[in-house]
Every structure is written in C-alpha cells, then in structure tokens.
Symmetry: none
Subunit: 247 residues, 2 copies
C-alpha cells in the first residue's frame, strides 16, 4: 500500500449485490479512477462469469476483492464510513452531496482507511446498514427518476474521489505562445487594408466593421502562429488584382 | 422544450456505438440526471432488446432517440459541441476537464442547443469527428487504465451537467445571437476555398492550416453577425482576379 496515494486507503463496499455483472462493472469503474479496494458483503453470485466479463481490464481488482459475511466485517479497521444514496432519507445522519463527501473522505485518509458503502440494487442501504455509517452521501439526481445503476453510482463517487485528490492534474496543459498587443494591432491594420482593397470596407462609410472584428478577436487570446496564418492569407490576396474600386 | 431548464438544451451524441446495451445504459444515465436528448450516429444495432433492458425506467429517452447518418447531421442546429475523451490527445483543440466543460455547456445553453459527443467504445472519437467539435472534454482517469465503459463516461458528464446547473436567475443573459454549427462549417469551407484561390493554401500540401483556423475560431463562440462579416469579406475577394495559381 502506497502511503502517498490516498486512493489506496479507500474501500468501496457493495452490500448484498444481486447482479454479478454490476460487481464487475464496479471493479472497472474503480480501476479507471485509480481505486483498487473492493469489499463484497454477501454477494448473491460471486465469482461469476458476468462479473469477470464486465470487469474488462480490471480483473485484478475483482481477484483481490474481499468477501465479507457482514458490513461490520467490511468496515473493521476503518476510521470513517459514508453510505451512498440517490434518495434523500429521513435519518438522523449528516447528509453531504457526493462532492463534499469525496473531499472529506480524501482528507480522512490521513488518519486511516475509510469506506464508501452501497446497498443492494433494488432498494439501496437498509437502515441497519446506514446505522453503521457516519454520514450519508447524497447524489443529486432527477427527482422523478433517481434510479442510477449501481456501478454508475460507484463510477461517479470514484470520479469525485479522484477529482478531490490534492495534486490531481485535472487539465491537459498546452503551451502556445500568445501574440503580443503590437502583433494583434498589425493584424487589424492588415485586415482593414485588405478589406478596403477588395471593396468590402468603404473607408468613407466604415460602419462598425473594424470594431466588430476587434471584438471577435478580443475574445480569443490569439497566438503568434494564428496571427501569422491570418496575415499570410491576407498577404496572399493581391491588391493589384482585386481592383480596390472603392479607393 | 422548457426554456427554463438548461438540461433540455443539451444533446448527448453517441457515434457508431457497437454494443446496444451501452445505448440503453446511457439513456438511463441521462434520465437519472434530468437529461433527455439522445442522438445516435450510425449505431451498429438499434433498436435492440439489450438497449431496452439496460435502459430500465428510461425507455422514453430511448424511444425518442434520434438516429443520424452522420455526426454533422446530429450537430445541425447546435451552437457548441464538445468531444469527450479519457485519453489526452495531441490535437489543436482547447482541452478542458469534464467539470469545466459541463459548466461551459450549461452557460452556452442560453444561446441555443449544445452537444456532448462520444466516440465508439473501443477507440473513442476519430480525428474527423473531433474536428467537428469545438473543444475536447478530458476525464481525468487512471493513466495506467483509463478505459471507462461508455455509459459510465456518459453518467459522469451528465452528473457534472446537473451539478453545474445554476439558479435560473443567475444565468447570464446573452444579447448576441450565436452562430450555428452549419454556419460555422460553411465559414470554414469558405475560408478554405478562398485560401486555395489566392494561392495561400496548397490543397496538395495543406499542412495543418485548416485545423489551426478551426482551433482559433473554436475558442470564440462566433456570433451570426461575425460570421456574416467574415463571409462578406471572403466573398469580396474575387477569384477571377486573384489568379489561383495553385489550382
């Protein structure tokens, strides 16, 4: 176990799962987000070919899944457990949304192992199971149809856990060289000149054409390369050939 | 269509989906988050009993799914399309993570319909498909196993879209009319045609000129008026006068 990776300190616990395909799909969901600890409390069928098929490249997560006879057993040694639900429930538990719950769980891994707990497919966590959890994580869903597939709910929480990692690189960074103010001004002058040359812009009655063009490019943070492309194109428009009848 | 619900203005487009079960699971994922517009570009099998079974209570989303012969057809009338990928790709497109992309899409629904686009299961979006998208949404995943199930990736984006819903009152009001997908595509074709005509673009050796231009304008959210200005200028460049020596 890598002390440095908070995701290694998170158990995902599935209680009395009915469809083995969901167990496999959950394993895959976990692995795609960098989680690896799957606990199964009294799965109805496991191991099962459907679980293996749905796990795709996450067979290792499935192979290392720990099967428990009770939720108590699955939570043994953890410092915090959060139950997941797509329904609001009238229970004396603190309720957080998935995002805040994920953030708390990641924080809490500095103290020890933590757990995210899911109930059975049809009805979710029982009140008994929830009583073993410290908090309820609530997934904001369509009030008129909140029935997420179990593995999908696992995917969303795993995603939020990964997003909550302190040093996660969430964005690809590309470094392009921005055009300078002067380069952009020269581009505008070039546009204006060619628009006049081809008879599109009448300098006696310019309307608001150049302002519109400025506004458009003001939104883009033009790059040097792009300015060069546009000016190359403008250069290629030959003035002697285009007449410039309005000049 | 309820003008007040931004989710009604979002199309989820699945390109050449291989497994019909994924289509059904995606429909269910959408409905749980309050989305309802599913577009299918050349699905391998549809309708199909697996799709119906996996849709569970979201049969209505499946029944209303729109089947298209091309991605262009699916994007017709949209003002913005974002392609989804769990891989980083070396492409001249702006890259955002799912969360930021969802936030932008919700904002953009004030201008018109927007689209989230997914490629086929095994390999994701092709470069051609991506070239029709304005941005790439990147799902931060485990670098050593980033292969999310298609419907799971749909679930995560749908969840982020729901999470990005603002209070309706705080939505930005736009006073400009956004250009549509078709208008922008025509603009690109017009640019290409004139760049060839004036000898700036060699169709035998186009390099990456058009991709660069697409990337530039992908960042701007072009307005109808701006497209008209640019096309007016392009129109004014007379081909018979410019020689078009490379043609």
């Amino acid at each position: 176990m890598n002390r440095c990776d908070p995701l290694d300190w998170i158990r995902v616990v599935l209680c009395t799962t009915t469809h083995p395909g969901n167990i496999g799909a959950a394993a895959r969901a976990l692995k795609t987000m960098g989680l690896c600890k799957l606990y199964l409390v009294n799965p109805r069928y496991f191991p099962h070919p459907d679980a293996t098929a749905m796990a795709a490249g996450a067979a290792d997560v499935l192979d290392r899944a720990i099967i428990c006879a009770s939720l108590e057993e699955a939570l043994a040694g953890t410092v915090k457990a959060i139950g997941c639900s797509a329904r609001r429930r009238d229970l004396p538990l603190r309720v957080l949304n998935f995002r805040d719950a994920a953030s708390e769980l990641i924080q809490e891994t500095t103290s020890g192992e933590v757990a995210v707990v899911y109930g059975t497919e049809m009805s979710g966590l029982t009140n008994n199971e929830l009583s073993l959890c410290r908090e309820l994580a609530y997934l904001p869903a369509n009030p008129s149809y909140s029935s997420l597939n179990l593995a999908h709910a696992v995917q969303v929480m795993a995603y939020e856990l990964r997003m909550a990692l302190p040093d996660i690189e969430t964005m690809a960074t590309k470094t392009y060289e921005a055009a300078s103010f002067e380069e952009i001004e020269l581009l505008f002058r070039h546009f204006e000149e060619k628009m006049i040359a081809v008879g599109f812009l009448n300098p006696q009655n310019p309307k608001r054409l150049m302002q519109r063009l400025r506004r458009l490019f003001a939104r883009t943070q033009l790059e040097k390369l792009e300015v060069n492309i546009l000016r190359g194109f403008l250069n290629a428009i030959k003035e002697e050939n285009t007449g410039g009848t309005t000049l």
